[in-house]
């Protein structure tokens, strides 16, 4: 399980760095809104990349409870396990 988490986190961080270039390290505790400035247009790109990368469909209602990188990672893991 832990390695699954690390794997998703690493891939996610890769997309986040491309979307919001910044010098700061991205950690699980990084806040998507405050620290990475993911606005609604960037969010669409991010969701598309996540869906393509992990072959999942992200329900829009689930994003309402996501604020940090950790929460997004866990959401991806949850959707993936439910789809299997």
């Amino acid at each position: 399980m832990a390695s699954d988490y690390e794997d998703v986190l690493q891939k996610l961080c890769h997309h986040l760095r491309q979307l919001s270039p910044s010098d700061a390290d991205i950690t699980p505790r990084t806040d998507l809104i405050e620290q990475l400035a993911i606005d609604s247009v960037k969010l669409l790109n991010l969701v598309m990349e996540i869906e393509d990368e992990f072959d999942i469909s992200v329900p829009i209602n689930a994003l309402a409870d996501v604020q940090t990188v950790d929460e997004l990672t866990n959401l991806i893991l949850r959707i993936r396990s439910e789809a299997r």
Binding site: I33, S40, L43, L44, S57, N61
Partner: protein
């Protein structure tokens, strides 16, 4: 996006049953395409004579549409057909749900709140309300990261403002709805369409509606503090729909629509749900979220199903231009698209030119562009340009526009200009006039407030006499809040008065942002001013100027971050926060802040003049 229907009512079981696969199953089947193969969309050509919205009420229109073969089709993010809802099945299911709604103890005219995801269940419930003599209103789905609390607050505001007696949402959203409904004394029932489907149907007779009855409420902004529900009667609705399908679009038997517009938005609901139905036209839907993530899917739908009529906000066209790859163009044939309606926000000519240039190789005809102007307070449409003629624009001197509120056509090249799109003429039965601050009509090319008169005008804002009185002027003229001028009988919209900021196609009230700021302990009432600035590439940014007494850099940064976060969670946009010393913001004689002057001051302080597009603002 689970979608399920009450199966026991189905008439076209072979088609409908398949749509109802819940999410897990749907995604499991996604790659195999088995579902899509089994379904076929409703046809474009019909078996009955076409009637163009000559009905007295919405349900009368559906009774007729149900005798043909056309209807609504719902596609998923991968372009697979998920559900088919012929008007015949829609009528049947809507009537069945109406009989169940009738058993909830509501009285005629009571409001029913519906979270409007792009699903068959939503449209069934919307029409079910009308069959039961109830007044539906659509509420948005949440779209922003971390917006849970704000979204619930937003729903609660609408439930209260609309005084809803019942509220429904599908499984994805019913949790939010239940939270918003907690403690409400007015709500008699909250649940999902499936739960309603399990209730017994009452054996009541479904009465015909009267043209003077209220057809629905339309909420116009996502405001958390004071959402306003526009009241539209059956008469206003049918008048507007008739104008749209006959005069605006000149609908004929070969027409078909494709839409991604949200069902909670007037252009989506009136223009792309009701207008096609009252003309018995088939529609192919893509959820807004799916379009926003993969705009190509919308164009694919148009191309594949040979759609002729499809509307978008300029923002949607921009997404297509930006996000569709050149390699995708080969598979598209957009030559069928004869009416590419554009509206709902300021239309920049370059947005249209860029789109046309990008998609010309895919057969898109620039003459298909159909700029129009309208607002929920006039049901939907006010003016249409001439269908099939493409778009016209006028270049006017930018300086004279701002200083003298005059549109002077550009005589010499090289001067700074503003270019405005011709939005066309009013629908029959409607008059548009432009007035100055004293309410006097101004001559051609003079910029002023745009007023509208006609059959489609709202009856007012629900339970809000103050705002109704402010918008509905004597003689039943609607003050649209937009600025513009008339030239040779055509309307050109030049801007929005400063009380509304339009970002990415969404209307955000400046007051809502200011009130959000004032909730912070460091910010006092009347010490925050919000406005939008639009750069020359047409990107609008919200600016929030705050009078601030904090001296420590850390405290100031903390306030800025908090404000940005609050604005983001409420509206999904980033904003620029400027802290200024007390008494910096200009006030009017009555002590009110002037947003126009605040904006001017900000532009001067930041030296942005040259990078912004010229707009005519009000004082």
């Amino acid at each position: 996006m689970a979608s399920t229907i009450h199966l026991e009512e189905k008439t076209l079981s072979s088609t409908i049953a398949q749509l109802n696969a819940p999410l897990a199953q749907a995604s499991a089947l996604r790659s195999s395409d088995e579902l899509a193969v089994a379904l076929a969309p409703t046809p474009t050509s019909n078996t009955q004579p076409q009637r163009l919205a000559d009905f007295e009420t919405l349900t009368a229109a559906l009774e007729y549409a149900a005798t043909g073969e056309t209807g609504y089709n719902f596609y998923d993010a991968r372009g697979n057909l998920r559900s088919v809802l012929p008007y015949r099945a829609l009528r049947h299911n809507a009537r069945a749900q109406a009989r169940r709604l009738a058993g909830l103890g509501m009285t005629r005219g009571d409001r029913v709140a519906l979270i409007a995801d792009t699903t068959p269940e939503f449209v069934e419930l919307f029409y079910a309300c009308r069959y039961a003599g109830l007044v539906p209103f659509a509420m948005p789905v949440p779209v922003n990261l971390g917006s849970h609390a704000v979204y619930v607050q937003q729903l609660r505001g609408m439930l209260e403002s609309g005084q809803a007696a019942a509220a429904l949402a599908n499984l994805d959203y019913v949790g939010f709805l239940a939270e918003a409904a907690a403690g409400s004394e007015r709500l008699k029932w909250v649940g999902t369409p499936e739960q309603l489907g399990e209730r017994p149907a009452t054996q009541v007779e479904l009465l015909e509606n009267h043209p003077d009855e209220v057809a629905y409420l339309q909420f116009t902004s996502g405001s958390t503090r004071a959402p306003r529900g526009v009241i539209i009667t059956e008469r206003a609705l049918m008048s507007n729909l008739q104008g749209i399908v006959r005069n605006g679009l000149e609908i004929g038997p070969g027409d078909r629509s494709a839409s991604w517009l949200p069902f909670y938005h007037d252009m989506g609901l009136v223009g792309m749900v009701m207008a096609p139905m009252v003309a018995q036209v088939s529609v192919d839907y893509l959820a807004t979220r799916d379009f926003a993530i993969r705009p190509l899917q919308w164009l694919r739908l148009i191309s594949r199903n040979r759609a002729t009529v499809a509307f978008s906000q300029p923002f949607g066209l921009k997404l297509c231009t930006l996000r569709v790859r050149d390699s995708d163009l080969e598979e598209l044939d957009l030559s069928c698209w004869r009416a590419a309606g554009v509206g709902a926000e300021m239309i920049r000519p370059d947005t249209l030119r860029n789109f046309a240039e990008k998609f010309a190789p895919a057969g898109f005809d620039v003459r298909a562009f159909l700029p129009c102007y309208g607002l929920a307070e006039s049901t939907l449409a006010v003016t249409f340009s001439k269908v099939g003629h493409g778009f016209d624009s006028l270049r006017v001197d930018a300086g004279t526009l701002v200083d003298k509120k005059m549109a002077v056509r550009l005589q010499v090249e090289g001067r700074k200009y503003s270019e405005f799109v011709n939005c066309g003429r009013p629908l029959p039965g409607h008059i548009v006039k432009v007035v100055d601050e004293a309410g006097q009509a101004v001559p051609d090319l003079r910029v002023g407030s745009v007023l509208v008169h006609g059959n489609s005008i709202m009856a007012g804002y629900f339970n809000n006499p103050e705002d109704s009185q402010r918008s509905l002027l004597p003689g039943n003229w609607l003050d649209t809040g937009d600025l513009g001028f008339i030239f040779e009988g055509d309307l050109y919209v030049t801007g929005r008065r400063t009380d509304v900021i339009i970002v990415n196609g969404r209307n955000i009230r400046a007051q809502d942002i200011e009130e959000l700021a004032e909730q912070q302990p460091e910010v006092r009432t009347r010490e925050a001013s919000a406005f939008g600035i639009t750069d020359t590439s047409d990107v609008t940014t919200i600016v929030l100027v705050i009078e601030c007494r904090l001296t420590s850099a850390a405290d100031r940064q903390s306030l800025i971050s908090r404000l940005q976060r609050q604005v983001y969670m409420a509206f999904g946009v980033n904003c620029l926060v400027e802290l200024v010393p007390p008494h910096t913001l200009p006030r009017t004689s009555s002590g009110k802040l002037s947003r126009f002057a605040a904006r001017q001051g900000f532009i001067q302080r930041t030296n942005l003049t040259d990078q912004l597009s010229a707009e005519s603002g009000d004082k």
